[in-house]
Amino acid sequence: MGIQGMELFAVGVVIILFVAVLKQFGILEPMSMEDSSDSDLELSTVRHQPEGLDQLQAQTKFTKKELQSLYRGFKNECPSGLVDEETFKTIYSQFFPQGDATTYAHFLFNAFDIDRNGSIRFEDFVIGLSVLLRGTVNEKLNWAFNLYDINKDGYITKEEMLAIMKSIYDMMGRYTYPIVRDDAPFEHVEKFFQKMDRNRDGVVTIDEFIETCQKDENIMNSMQLFENVI
């Protein structure tokens, strides 16, 4: 019995080795030959060219020079002309090394990616920046509302706000003073809703939002803060 088994095993091993050698020469599997050469390199053929300078100038409030400088930086960073969500998260997280900025970056990405195609093109980038830096206060508030409204249905629910708030607190990280308590985002959301939700229906609409913000001095003053960023 022992001899028989070992012989079978030996013969089996020989067959396997034979097959391995044949595979090496590509004789055994002609099918795999065609894709073997192509599957090595996956060339990314996705590329995007932005619209012309003049069109962008018409759509945004930047000057030509500003657009040029913005595009140079953008192109340097993303030669393909598109920023996908992962890259965006990576970039944004670099500014907040202490905390975890990926969730907030996700929301931010969705706010910038107007046509929801999963990547930010230069036009999206520049249009968003134009609103944030050169837009009117109303436009900025609109943008902020759009950011908070995760499902873009026109209402900010408590859940959406809580998600946003949590992501902001996540960016702070662990080492803060005073230490972030677990219910801090929740509390913050409660305060926000108390302030914004006029008719106490549990959601904040765009009008409630803008109205409340316009009444708040702090918010209105701080809107001018970032104008000279570019």
Binding site: G73, I91, F95, Q98
Partner: protein, 611 residues
């Protein structure tokens, strides 16, 4: 992503508008940006070759020569360009670093020239991208080895001794370097001769000589001429003992000498003789005595003092220890596998040699090394199949690590030859003094700090680092509060955290964009160690005014050295020690606050010798 971080900062700041409606406190004022927004093209003339680039590109790394105001020293008013009298080929790589954020090492360039260029332009070599880092490191290591050899060669006793050396020192030198005096040379040759004599005597005494009258069997010569051999052995051992005692006396550090390999070989070579003298002519112990005589063959190793090639071989084997270990390990694995298989394959055969698996080990070893004695052969078909697979794989397993060992040996051998050649030439050693850092706060940092500050205001919490965090945890239980003022003037601002959580790559990238790293930044890497140890106590001291800064993670300029150094010092890899790295920058920052910036850092920097 290095350049990108700077590019995207305005975007991140703009996005902060999203926090405004939520902020619990009012936002801080942004830093004023005085520099003109208009970008201009600068001309950099390097030895006649003109490079042009945007000013912003150069400004990305404000702590390098080109990014800081240091380049103004090279400004030529008449031609309105910056003129550098350096190698334009190298400058191409430097400029590409600014453009792409990645520093590449050109393979055809000399490593020292490259290092010098980097030092001149204020770029630390650690930024070299992964694609070229390995090549760079290998060349660097090679170069350092070569330099170390040269130091050794210099320190080697070729130069004449100072006249007031003791006789002991002179004796030691005579032993180590026989070419210094004739006496030493004579002694060298005499010992060599006696080693040869001793070894030959050991060999010859086992050769069968013609038996003396009255006997039939052949006697080994050692027993026939036992007195002659004994006398020769005695003479040799006396010489060796004398030599050993002389060396022991002359050695500058006796303990170290006694532990060295050569002295152990000396001892092992002469011990058997003395033990043989002492031991009685007893049948029981004579077996052990015979074993001892084997050790006499170690005398042949004494030749390694006389032959450099032998020393090189020994050194090679030592340096290839890992490859040899791997070879051994893989062979052992293969032996065990094949022996098992062969044993079970041959089990059924009557009167088989493969009586057990250990017995099959012998067959496997002999087959795998392609010796093939033929004392054990498989008879069954299965056995033969597996036997052939065994011999084929044996060739492969042995052939794989051998080239590594060979290349190692070749490299070391050539290095040695080079050292010998260079011994004849004169060497100039320059000790470069590194330029000191120029600390300045870049607008990038200011803006980044403002952004982080805005986040703090939004959530009404502040950034701290691990030390103060744990302090506060402890303090809260005790009820004591360190004074923390929350009002931070905008000019102090925030600092970019030193990316403790980020991967090493990102840490480098972020640092790239804010390379506020000193020129002697290679030293910074070392100074961090020193500062960490020396300044830790101060950070906890009652510098309450300073502790307010602790909660913001780092200062701009100081920590970036930390960023870059974080990957390199083994103690502080961000991958492993997440929480500890924030401590470093705060510590660094305290050091900055302690003295005037350049002053304290100069003081620290000078401690390290330049690279």
């Amino acid at each position: 992503m290095a350049a990108g971080v700077a590019t995207w900062l305005p975007f991140a700041r703009a996005a902060a508008v999203g926090w405004l409606p939520l902020a619990k406190k009012s936002m801080p004022k942004p830093p004023s940006d005085n520099k003109s927004r208009n970008d201009e093209i600068l001309i950099v003339n390097v030895s006649g070759q003109r490079f042009q680039t945007w000013k912003n590109t150069l400004d990305r790394y404000p702590d390098t020569l080109l990014g800081s105001s240091e380049k103004e020293f090279f400004y030529n008013e008449e031609t309105q360009e910056y003129f550098f009298d350096r190698d334009p080929e190298m400058f191409r790589h430097i400029l590409n670093f600014y453009r792409t954020g990645k520093l590449h090492y050109p393979r055809h360039e000399c490593i020292q020239a490259f290092d010098e260029e980097l030092a001149f332009y204020g770029i630390i070599p650690e930024i070299i991208g992964d694609c070229c880092m390995e090549e760079y490191r290998d060349r660097k290591k090679e170069n350092l080895e070569r330099l170390a050899e040269d130091t050794e060669a210099e320190m080697a006793t070729d130069a004449p001794l100072p006249p007031d050396s003791t006789s002991r020192e002179r004796l030691w030198r005579a032993f180590e370097n026989p070419h210094t005096s004739t006496m030493a040379l004579v002694f060298y040759y005499v010992t060599g001769f006696f080693i040869a004599v001793s070894v030959i005597a050991n060999v010859v005494e086992t050769v069968p000589c013609r038996p003396p009258k009255g006997r039939v069997k052949d006697l080994p010569c050692g027993e026939k001429y036992s007195l002659a051999f004994f006398c020769m052995d005695t003479a040799c051992v006396m010489i060796f003992t004398f030599e050993y005692l002389m060396r022991l006396y002359a050695a500058p550090s006796r303990c170290k000498f006694m532990r060295s390999v050569m002295s152990i070989i000396d001892v092992v070579a002469i011990m058997p003789y003395y033990i043989g003298l002492v031991m009685p002519e007893n049948e029981d112990v004579s077996g052990a005595f015979v074993t001892l005589r084997v050790f006499r063959v170690f005398r042949i190793f004494k030749f390694s003092r006389h032959s450099q090639g032998l020393r090189i071989l020994g050194y090679t084997l030592k340096s290839c220890a890992s490859e040899l270990g791997f070879l051994l390990f893989s062979l052992t694995m293969a032996i065990i596998i094949f022996a098992t298989v062969m044993f079970y394959a041959e089990k059924g055969t009557k009167e088989t040699n493969f009586t057990s698996i250990p017995a099959a080990f012998w067959y496997t070893i002999v087959t795998m090394t392609t010796l093939g004695y033929g004392d054990m052969v498989p008879n069954t078909i299965a056995g033969k199949i597996f036997g052939s697979i065994c011999s084929l794989s044996g060739v492969l397993v042995i052939a794989l690590p051998v080239p590594v060992i060979v290349s190692n040996f070749s490299r070391i051998y050539h290095q040695n030859q080079r050292a010998d050649k260079r011994r004849a030439q004169q060497q100039d050693r320059h000790s470069g003094s590194q330029a000191l850092c120029v600390r300045n706060r870049s607008s990038f940092e200011q803006q980044h700090h403002h952004l982080l500050h805005c986040l703090e205001k939004t959530t009404n919490h502040e950034f701290t680092d691990e030390h103060t965090y744990s302090e506060v945890c402890m303090a809260e239980s005790v009820g004591y509060r360190t004074s923390r003022s929350t009002s931070i003037s905008s000019h102090q601002g925030l600092s970019t955290s030193c990316c403790p959580r980020r991967a090493k790559r990102r840490a480098i990238r972020l640092a790239n964009s804010t390379v506020s790293v000193s020129r002697g930044s290679v030293q910074e890497l070392d100074t961090l160690h020193i500062q960490k140890s020396s300044i830790v106590p101060q950070s906890r001291s009652s510098l309450n005014a300073r502790t307010q800064d602790l909660k913001l993670n780092c200062d701009d300029t100081d920590f970036t050295a930390a960023i870059i150094s974080i990957p390199t010092p083994p103690a502080n890899t961000p991958d492993e020690s997440l929480p500890s790295s924030p401590g470093i920058p705060s510590i660094l920052r305290n050091s900055r606050q302690l003295g005037d910036c350049s002053g304290s850092f100069t003081h620290e920097t000078v401690k390290i010798s330049s690279l």
